[in-house]
Structures are given as C-alpha cells and as structure tokens.
C-alpha cells in the first residue's frame, strides 16, 4: 500500500460524499405512530365474521375453515340453529380464533362457502397476556 492509500483520506472523503448526497435526497422514513402508512391492497389483518341482511351471523358451523387452517387456531362448537332460521341446520355457539397462533394466511376466507369469515386490513393489536389474543365470536362479529 502506498502512502496515499495508507492515510485513508480518499476513502473517508468518498464515504462522506455518499452521506452528504443522501442528506439532500428525498426522506424515506415513515413517521409511523403519528402518520399511518397506506395499507397495501389485499393486506390481511384481523378477522371479521360477516352478518347477513337480517343481522344474523352468516356462519353455518361447517368447520371448513377450522379444517383448512394450517395453524389450527379456530375453535368452533356448533349448535342447532333456532327453528325460525329455516335456511340452515347449525350455527356456531363458540367461534374463537387465537390471533397469536394465526398466521393470517387467509385460507379460512378462501375455504368458507358462505363468505362468513373475512380478513380485514386492520392491524392486530399487541398485547401483554396470551388470553387477550383469543377473539370470541362477539368480538369477531363486531370487528
């Protein structure tokens, strides 16, 4: 190494010039907690159980979503639908999703024959206890 290379000045100046160039470039940092970044199309977040025109849940407790779910985080307990609902035999008594185990793959949405379950683009909130992440039917219906 010659003296010119040994004093490292050219390398330092080159590095500093890159830094200087980036100072005047467009800023890329998102101010996240203050400004919400745009959610990409098709983004998959927390689940929602849809309701039909009469305000009943669309789900007929067919267990297809629970069967296809790769992380097996959906717990459904079926019961007989009330007599005044002639279009279906069953409805879910319990419909729990463990959001901590869910990988938001969207297979449940694809499998559902009744469009009853859907993934919204909403973020899933962080939490401090595992029990917080088990979303019950009421919470899923109102999401």
């Amino acid at each position: 190494m010659g003296l010119w290379r040994r004093i490292y000045l050219p390398a330092i100046l080159k590095g500093l010039s890159i830094t200087l160039r980036h100072v005047f470039r467009r800023k890329v940092t998102l101010e996240y907690p203050e400004v919400l970044p745009p959610v990409p199309r098709g983004s998959r977040g927390t689940h929602r159980l849809n309701k039909d025109e009469l305000g009943r849940e669309r789900c007929v407790a067919c267990f297809l979503c629970a069967t296809v779910c790769p992380s097996r985080c959906i717990t459904i307990v079926a019961e007989e639908a009330p007599a005044e609902w002639p279009d279906r035999d069953k409805r879910p008594r319990v419909f729990d999703i463990d959001m901590l185990r869910c990988i938001f793959c969207g297979y449940c949405e694809e499998a559902c024959p009744c469009d009853a379950i859907e993934l919204t683009p909403k973020f899933y909130p962080v939490g401090t206890r595992r029990e917080e992440f088990v979303w019950t039917k009421e919470r899923l219906l109102s999401n």
Binding site: Y32, P70, V77, C102, I103, V126
Partner: protein, 195 residues
C-alpha cells in the same frame, strides 16, 4: 420546618426513579434473537424506512450483557431453548422481552415435536406481537408498549418471578377435527349459556 416550607416554594421534588425510567424508556438497547423469517422483518423495522432510532432503540447489541430488551424473532426449537434461557439470564436487570411473531409466541403453524410452543413457557414475556411475520408497524407498537410499561412503572415480567401454571396458556386451542395429541389438553371451552 419553616425552612422546609420555604424550600418547597422554589424546589420541585420528584422521584429520581421517574428520571431513570424516562432515560431507560428512551434508550432501550435491543438484543435481537433472530432465528427465522421474523428476523428479516425485524431488520426492516431497524432500517431507514421505519427507523427504530426514532425510539432510541437502534443500538442493536449482539451481547446480552449490554442490552435490556430481548426481541425473540422466529422459531425456537427445543434444542435452542437452553441457549435462549442462557442469553436471557445473562441480561442485566431490569430487562424486557418481546415475543415477535406467531412462532415465538405460540408455535404458530409448527405444532411439531421439535418446536417450543411459546417461549413464555420458559422465560417471562412482556409483550406479544402477533403476525407471521408482524408488520414493522406492529413491532413498533410492541416497542411503544414496552416503553409505556416502563413509563407507568409497571414491573417487567422478569420481576414477577417464575410463571405460575395458570398464567401460561396451557390450553392449546385446536380444531376438534385435529388428530388428538396426548401432549395437548383438548377440553373444549364450556358452553356459554344464553348464546
């Protein structure tokens, strides 16, 4: 006493602990324990677009002795767990733990014989960040949650001692159609009256 009253007029008293907490909160040094894909998302969070430096948490230390926030990002296998416990024990108190992603928090899709079904069975976890992988926004939320925990003087999970059995989520929720696994309790939740 009169002197003290006089002093009170121009001296504000506060707890030094508040100042320490404020300093701690704004200078979390994370120790990334990245074993899988979640670590990639953690890198994205630390990079310029999301920029953890805005929260004072950009000094990633790969030595547990210099850090106070353990971010477990990724799958932790049963063979890896002693290493993680060792790293956790080497961190100086007070320390906080973020369990990032479905795998670290609960095992996620990998309900297999090799994988720890949630690191909280072995080390106390302060904040869970769900998702596979969590978006950087979610991880930032998690870090803000840790900061709030420090700010409000909530003791870190590490100070609460070993976990009690009922604090862990012992019930491994699975579909009733899943093949029965003798390791996992399969009791379904009790019937809710009036539903």
């Amino acid at each position: 006493m009169a002197f003290v009253e006089e002093l009170n007029e121009f001296v504000y008293t506060t707890r030094i602990g508040r100042l320490v907490d404020w300093a701690r909160k704004n200078s979390l040094w994370p120790m990334p324990f990245g074993t899988a894909c979640c670590a990639i998302e953690f890198m994205a969070t630390a990079a310029s677009k999301y920029d953890l430096a805005r929260f004072g948490a950009e000094v990633l230390r790969f030595s547990p002795r210099q850090s106070d926030l353990l971010i477990v990002a990724g799958r932790v296998s049963i063979k890896m767990m002693p290493v993680l416990i060792r790293i956790y024990e080497q961190m100086p108190e007070p320390k906080w733990v973020i369990s990032m992603g479905a795998c670290a928090s609960s095992g996620g899709v990998f309900d297999t014989y090799t994988l720890v079904q949630g690191i909280d069975q072995f080390i106390p976890v302060d904040v869970y960040v769900p998702g596979c992988p969590p978006r950087p926004e979610n991880l930032i939320d998690g870090i803000i949650r840790v900061q709030r925990r420090i700010e409000t003087g909530e003791s870190p999970a590490s100070a609460l001692g070993p976990l009690r059995a009922e604090q862990r989520c012992t019930e491994n929720r699975r579909s009733p159609w899943a093949p029965l696994d003798p390791r996992v309790p399969h009791a379904l939740p009790p019937a809710t009256p009036g539903l």
